[in-house]
């Protein structure tokens, strides 16, 4: 029997299926929008510079004979071990370049939604606060894992390839885990940090100032307090110092500060808890205007 259908509005007869990862579209869109911003691709590419420089040093370290004249006896600098990995990964430049990428990709993640009153649109869909925050965090996670975990794990592989044996891995089997652990630390902390500041204002420009301002202010404050009181514990006020301390602990290396690493982890965790509290308060579908 032929079926005659009317040309008109038809209601979909299928059944709605609950998505397993309702936050995934938010994450995908966030990443896509970041790449659309002018100048972002350049900044993103430049953020790979430290890993590229490290790759070159890895190569030179395995070909010292060929580069004898270039290196001129400074072979100690090319002793590639977990400390070397730690030095690069926790360096100020890497952290700065990560911040710069996040400023482009993540500063407006929540600020823009607040500015355009988009939260109502999100929560009119079958997603909850948790999915929203997870989606936004995933954008940060994507970039940090791509810039830190991926290239640096690959660098371990390159080290093995250039060496032609597994000696390095057998000597330091925990190194890939350290890299992953540090990447996760950066992901969670920087994600919380950036989203906290993004939720604090509707003005993305102001959020950018806050992201760098708070970061560098903490260093300035720590320096001032250290000079005033002479105590190494004052360094805990510095976010970059805490990240470097935690990174050194994760790599099992000598700590840069003469204090237990536990305190740095505690400070970083505290900031994450603060971020969770602020996000829980700020992310709601209805805005109350007094």
């Amino acid at each position: 029997m032929a079926i005659v259908r009317e040309k008109g509005y038809t209601h979909w007869n299928g059944q709605l299926v609950e998505r397993r990862f309702p936050w995934a579209p938010i994450a995908r869109t966030g990443v896509r929008l970041a790449f659309r911003k002018k100048g972002f691709k350049f900044v993103f590419a430049m953020a790979f510079m430290p890993s590229f420089v490290f790759l070159v040093t890895l190569y030179i370290s395995e070909r010292l004979e060929d580069f004898k004249g270039f290196v001129q006896g400074n072979t100690a600098l090319l002793n590639v071990d977990p400390n070397y990995f730690k030095l690069f990964l926790t360096s100020g430049f890497v952290l700065f370049s990560l911040l710069l990428v996040l400023v482009f990709a993540a500063a407006g993640l929540i600020a823009e939604d607040l500015k355009h009153n988009s939260l109502q649109l999100y929560f009119a869909r079958p997603i909850g606060k948790k999915d929203y925050i997870l989606g936004k965090m995933s954008v940060v996670a994507f970039f940090i894992l791509i810039l830190v975990a991926l290239p640096w794990l690959l660098l371990v592989v390159f080290k093995l390839i250039f060496a032609g044996n597994f000696k390095f891995f057998l000597q330091y089997p925990w190194l890939p885990l350290s890299i992953l652990g540090y990447s996760l630390l950066l992901t969670v902390f920087l994600g919380c940090y950036v989203l906290l500041l993004s939720a604090v204002s509707r003005n993305t420009r102001y959020v950018i100032v806050l992201i760098f301002g708070v970061y560098y202010f903490s260093s300035v404050l720590a320096e001032i307090l250290k000079k005033a009181f002479g105590s190494p514990y004052m360094a805990l006020f510095s976010i970059p110092a805490d990240l470097q301390q935690a990174g050194a602990a994760l790599f099992g290396q000598k700590l840069p500060l003469a204090i237990p690493a536990f305190w740095s982890f505690l400070i970083l965790a505290g900031i994450c808890v603060l971020a969770a509290a602020v996000l829980n308060r700020k992310i709601r579908s209805v805005e109350v205007i007094k």
Binding site: L100, R205, F217, I224, K227, A228
Partner: protein
């Protein structure tokens, strides 16, 4: 309306609006950090005026000169144009009988006054708390005025630079951050006349600092590391001239450029 009158009207409008904005509270609280530190240091170093003077000069001025005024000027300077374009309120201003230069200059003046107010309160409280034991010394007040003058000039110069950036760049804040926290910090390590290509060099040249008399010649102060100072009068003239030139360029750009809202 004459340009001067228009500048006055724009100044009044944005001085009022700027005071009301929530961000003022955040920046003002940031400015209370050195005050809190001054209180703590005063308690710890009670009675030792020499070390306290050194703490102020070597430490707190680092905060003011290399962080606080830079961050304030960066935000407010770039806001002069960028804020109006982002918020799409530029239409309200350029469809009034106001010369476009007056909009830039009026907003500049309003924001400089706002920033100066925040800096004065913070500096005065922290300075006089740190030097509470020497309040009868007239030299103290002259030194305070000198510090204030340096920071005031710094606010004007940095804000003028960031105003220019905001007038012609879309991502002015990022370029501003690289300049304010990158270039201005790194330049002090460059030899010879390279230092003169920074605003902070001229500000540091004006600081009332005598390393031998305060710290006994021990160590090197954070602020004046590798400084080859310019003569004070030349430094003031240079800062004034650079600020005027940057503002003039910003006004000209604002007048000739058209700003399209992102849809």
């Amino acid at each position: 309306m004459t340009v001067a009158k228009a500048v006055r009207q724009v100044f009044g409008f944005f001085a009022f609006l700027g005071r009301k904005a929530g961000k003022v509270r955040v920046f003002a609280v940031l400015g209370l950090m050195p005050v809190a530190l001054a209180v703590v240091v005063r308690i710890v170093l009670h009675g030792r005026s020499g070390p306290m003077a050194a703490v102020f000069t070597e430490i707190l001025m680092v905060f003011f000169l290399q962080f606080y005024i830079v961050i304030l000027a960066l935000f407010y300077g770039t806001s002069i144009t960028a804020e109006e374009v982002e918020n799409r309120t530029l239409s309200y201003l350029i469809t009034r009988p106001l010369p476009k230069a007056a909009i830039v200059l009026g907003k500049f003046a309003a924001y400089v006054l706002l920033m100066f107010g925040m800096v004065v309160v913070s500096l005065a409280l922290s300075y006089f708390i740190m030097n509470a034991a020497r309040l009868s010394d007239p030299e103290l007040y002259l030194t305070f005025l000198r510090y204030l003058g340096v920071l005031g000039l710094g606010i004007v110069a940095y804000t003028a630079f960031f105003t220019l950036l905001g007038t012609f760049l879309k991502r002015a804040i990022i370029v501003g951050l690289v300049f304010g926290f990158g270039w201005e910090n790194v330049i002090q390590y460059f030899p010879g006349s390279t230092q003169k290509f920074s605003i902070v060099h001229y500000l540091k040249s004006l600081l009332p600092y005598h390393p031998a008399s305060i710290s006994g010649g021990r160590g090197v102060a954070l602020l004046l590391f590798r400084l080859e100072p310019t003569k004070p009068l030349a430094a003031v003239l240079m800062l004034a001239a650079v600020s005027a030139a940057l503002l003039a360029l910003a006004c000209w750009l604002f007048r000739t450029k058209e700003y399209l809202y992102e849809d």
